[in-house]
């Protein structure tokens, strides 16, 4: 744990500052003790990106005064606000009971507990709204517990004054907030109202009740908030319908379609909870909640009069941590939790796959050089000019076929005269053919095969350049996949993708030497090299994946 910087110590002469106890996007929190009173406190240092913005720091000062006047059992009390030497420091009550997020991911909450916590959260938010302050960063990590289990809304670090009708846009055209809980109007920089906090609170309830967020959280922050702006949230399934209706109204995209304020949201939530869990649900849950009279009345009065048996609702919903924990990186490596390695299977050895890959690759490279020489006659002609082939007496019609690696390049009928057949080839043939290709002259008397070898430089052709580019491209692409496997950034998909790339590499390994050596590439050698290449690539990918798993396992063991 880091000690506070000298500037923080200098700004708070009446406090004994302890170690850093928290860190987030909105600043660092230190433990401290107010020396004259001996009271333990938490000191939050506002982050530099906000502190250096003069308008923002002035707002903080103004809002700190408002927050200091907030006296509500579900809001973390602010004892002091210090602005000194560029430091902006909030002195708050120290809460030792953890956060809603930590408990959600460790033990989880039953739906009834979630509703009780939701009422406490909404009670605190409504009090803040009544004082003219919007929180705007409502999320499980900003809901803290005292040692006695009382929930308190904390971290008004980016809160706004309602009366100003302000937006939360910085001068750089950016907005502040937490992507998963950001309301659409906050994301767009539009004027804000208590409905923005209703959205955040409803998102928290959605998550605590279902174990997931209303929207996918992949693709980066921008993609996440765009979903909030443009898409409808996923329906809340596996949650009692009365609760789902209330929560889904809270995450409506249009602010006017949400609850007008936290109080009306709390009344409906309390009524739905009473309908689902029974009139005495809040007493049985045992979570300390301070409610307004209207909400307290609703909590003991089922919204529709009927009650769903509560025995089916006692299973805690727990955060899976999948969406919340970003991959941890050490250099280029992505670290995985040790338990994943300890609980999982032993990393399987990679050496057999490595050996197989080396063997297959060696055969693939050797194959083009070990093919038997063709014994068909060579036809060395310039394809930019008409091709003249001698034919036997009695031949009246002739057709010329050219193919490379089994694919037809050209087919043309010829003119037979004076014991010769003359063929005008398509212009493309001149540029496609490089080195040697198979050719055949089919006449009314039979078929004669040739090895067609244009005299031009074999690399001045699509076969020459194309096979070279294909070889380099597939090789680089495969190396790219292997790197992702070595860094454990991808898994089976990369292994599967390596197969077609290996096939392309194998074909290029056959065609390129064939072009240079002026040996016509055949279909089956090309297929054989492709299969060898695909097999070698897959074996290499599997070996790389296993080797990476072994390294990670070894690192976890140490």
């Amino acid at each position: 744990m880091k000690a506070p910087s000298p500037s923080v110590v200098a700004a708070l002469p009446q406090y004994d500052l302890g170690a850093q106890i928290g860190h987030g996007g909105m600043g660092v929190v230190y433990s401290a003790v107010h020396r004259p009173l001996g009271r333990p406190v938490a000191i939050k240092r506002l982050p530099g990106i906000l502190a250096e913005d003069r308008r923002m720091s002035e707002r903080f000062e103004h809002e700190a005064r408002l927050l200091a006047r907030l006296d509500h059992p579900h809001i973390v009390p602010v004892y002091d606000y210090v602005q000194n030497n560029g430091e902006h420091l909030l002195v708050m009550e120290k809460l030792d009971g953890g956060t809603v997020w930590s408990r959600f991911t460790e033990v989880g909450f039953t739906p009834a507990q979630t509703c009780a916590l939701g009422l406490a959260m909404l009670s605190g938010l409504h009090a803040a709204h009544g004082a003219g302050v919007l929180h705007l960063d409502v999320k499980p990590k900003n809901l803290l517990f005292t040692a006695g289990g009382v929930l308190k809304v904390a971290d008004f670090g980016i809160s706004q004054v309602v009366s100003e009708g302000a937006t939360l846009m910085t001068h750089g055209g950016q907005v502040l907030g937490t992507p998963a809980y950001l309301s659409p109007e906050q994301a767009l920089g539009n004027p804000l109202s208590p409905a923005a906090d209703v959205y955040g609170a409803a998102t928290v309830l959605y998550e605590l009740l279902s174990g997931r967020l209303p929207f996918d959280s992949g693709g980066g922050p921008l993609a996440m908030i765009q979903r909030h702006v443009h898409q409808e949230p996923r329906p809340l399934t596996d949650v009692p319908a009365p609760l789902a209706r209330v929560v889904m109204r809270g995450v409506e995209r249009e602010p006017v379609r949400r609850y007008r304020n936290a109080e009306t949201f709390a009344i409906d939530l309390a009524g739905a909870a009473a309908e689902v869990f029974g009139a005495d649900w809040l007493m049985r849950v045992g979570t300390p909640v301070h409610l307004s009279p209207q909400v307290a009345a609703a909590s003991s009065r089922p919204a529709t009069g009927s009650v769903i048996p509560r025995e089916t609702l006692n299973i805690p919903v727990r955060g899976t941590m999948v969406e919340a924990t970003p991959p941890v990186r050490l250099g280029q490596q992505t670290l995985v939790p040790a338990r994943d390695l300890i609980d999982g299977q032993e990393p399987r050895p990679a050496r057999w796959f490595g050996l197989a890959a080396a063997l297959l690759a060696a055969v693939m490279v050797a194959l083009p050089f070990s093919l038997p020489a063709s014994d068909v006659p060579v036809l060395a002609v310039d394809l930019s000019k008409p091709v003249v082939v001698p034919v036997a007496d009695g031949v009246t019609s002739a057709e010329f076929d050219i193919w490379a690696a089994g694919f037809s390049v050209a087919r043309t009928a010829g003119v037979v005269a004076d014991g010769r057949a003359t063929f005008e080839l398509p212009g493309a043939a001149r540029w496609v053919v490089g080195g040697a290709v198979d050719a055949a002259v089919t006449t009314n008397t039979g078929v004669t095969e040739y090895s067609l070898q244009p005299p031009q430089n074999p690399m001045i052709s699509i076969m020459g350049v194309g096979s070279g580019v294909l070889l380099l491209f597939t090789f680089a692409y495969l190396e790219s996949l292997l790197r992702s496997l070595r860094r454990r950034q991808s898994g089976t998909a990369a292994v599967v993708a390596s197969a077609p790339l290996g096939f392309g590499l194998g074909v290029a390994v056959l065609v390129l030497p064939s072009v240079l050596l002026r040996v016509a590439p055949g279909l089956w050698p090309a297929v054989a090299c492709g299969v060898l290449g695909a097999s070698a690539a897959v074996c290499t990918a599997v070996a790389t994946r296993r080797a990476a798993a072994s390294r990670a396992s070894a690192a976890a063991g140490t």
Binding site: G24, G25, M26, I49, W101, K139, P140, K141, G157, I158, T167, G173, Q174, V175, L176, G177, T178, P179, A180, P184, A187, L188, G189, N190, G219, G220, P221, L222, M224, I225, Q226, V229, P255, E323, A324, P327, R329, S384, V409, P426, G427, A428, A429, R430, W431, V432, Q456, N457, I460, V465, F473, F475, A476, Y477, E479, S480, R483, S484, Q489, S490
Partner: protein, 258 residues
């Protein structure tokens, strides 16, 4: 493949140059070492000299004052050799005049090699072209000529462009945007097309001309763009903690539909 062939065929057909040119009623016929200068290839051997004979036909009613005869070769809009010979003579209106001279091509070997579009032109005192005849010069020069080195330089730059793009692919350093990845391969494709054009010229297969260059360069560039487009995303998106408060870029201007 047929589309590629069609483009190449267009380039070949359109690449044929006129052998005799007429400017404002003035035409020119020429022979080099007794061989008529036509659309066929004109052998230019740097080891010797060329005897050039010109016949100017003046179809106008005014006298033409010829001052200079120019033999020049261009490729990719760049002039790689140019020989100016001062040969003053007049061509009366409605008449034809023939003149001959010997041109020493000693330095040609160090300036160009291969097939190049070549022009033999007569110029007036203000160096404006009176008339000219175009052909394809078959220069038997050195690979280390200016044109040869130009081709090697383009080849080197193209190899570097490919190496850069492929190393970036192998090292997963390509941009995250697919179109930007495609654009990173584009210079390599254009370079490949240029190398093909110059190689065909140097190897004496085909002289460069705009109609022949464009299909080669466009096809090679398109192929490289396609390869770049097919490259994989370099790395997974930066890890995002949906629980962390962040400074975020607005997806739309204020007032956008919420």
């Amino acid at each position: 493949m047929s589309g590629v062939g069609l483009l190449l065929l267009c380039g070949m057909l359109l690449g044929v140059s006129p052998a005799v040119a007429a400017v404002g009623g003035v035409s020119i016929n020429a022979t080099v070492d007794g061989k008529p200068v036509t659309g066929d290839e004109l052998l230019l051997d740097p080891s010797g000299s060329a005897r050039i004979s010109l016949t100017i036909h003046n179809g106008t009613d005014r006298v033409l004052h010829v001052k200079t005869v120019r033999l020049s070769g261009t490729a990719l809009a760049l002039t790689f050799f140019s020989y100016d010979t001062t040969l003053p003579f007049d061509v009366p209106g409605g008449e034809s005049v023939t003149r001959g001279f010997v041109l020493d091509l000693d330095q040609l070997g160090s300036q160009a090699t291969g097939l190049l579009p070549t022009e033999l032109a007569v110029l007036d005192a203000s160096r404006d072209v009176i008339a000219g005849v175009e052909t394809t010069g078959d220069v038997r020069g050195s690979v280390w000529s200016v044109y040869g080195i130009f081709g090697l330089a383009v080849l080197l730059l193209t190899a570097l462009a490919w190496a850069g793009a492929l190393f970036a692919l192998a090292r997963r350093r390509l941009p995250a945007n697919r179109w930007q990845r495609a654009m990173q391969f584009l210079p390599a494709g254009i370079g490949t097309g240029l190398v093909a054009v110059i190689s065909l010229s140097v190897l004496g297969v085909m002289a460069p001309s705009p109609a022949a260059e464009i299909p080669f360069i466009v096809v090679a560039a398109a192929a490289a763009l396609l390869l770049g487009y097919l490259t994989p995303h370099p790395a997974p998106a930066a890890p995002v903690d949906p629980e962390a408060t962040q400074r975020l870029t607005r997806p739309l201007p204020p007032g956008g539909a919420a």
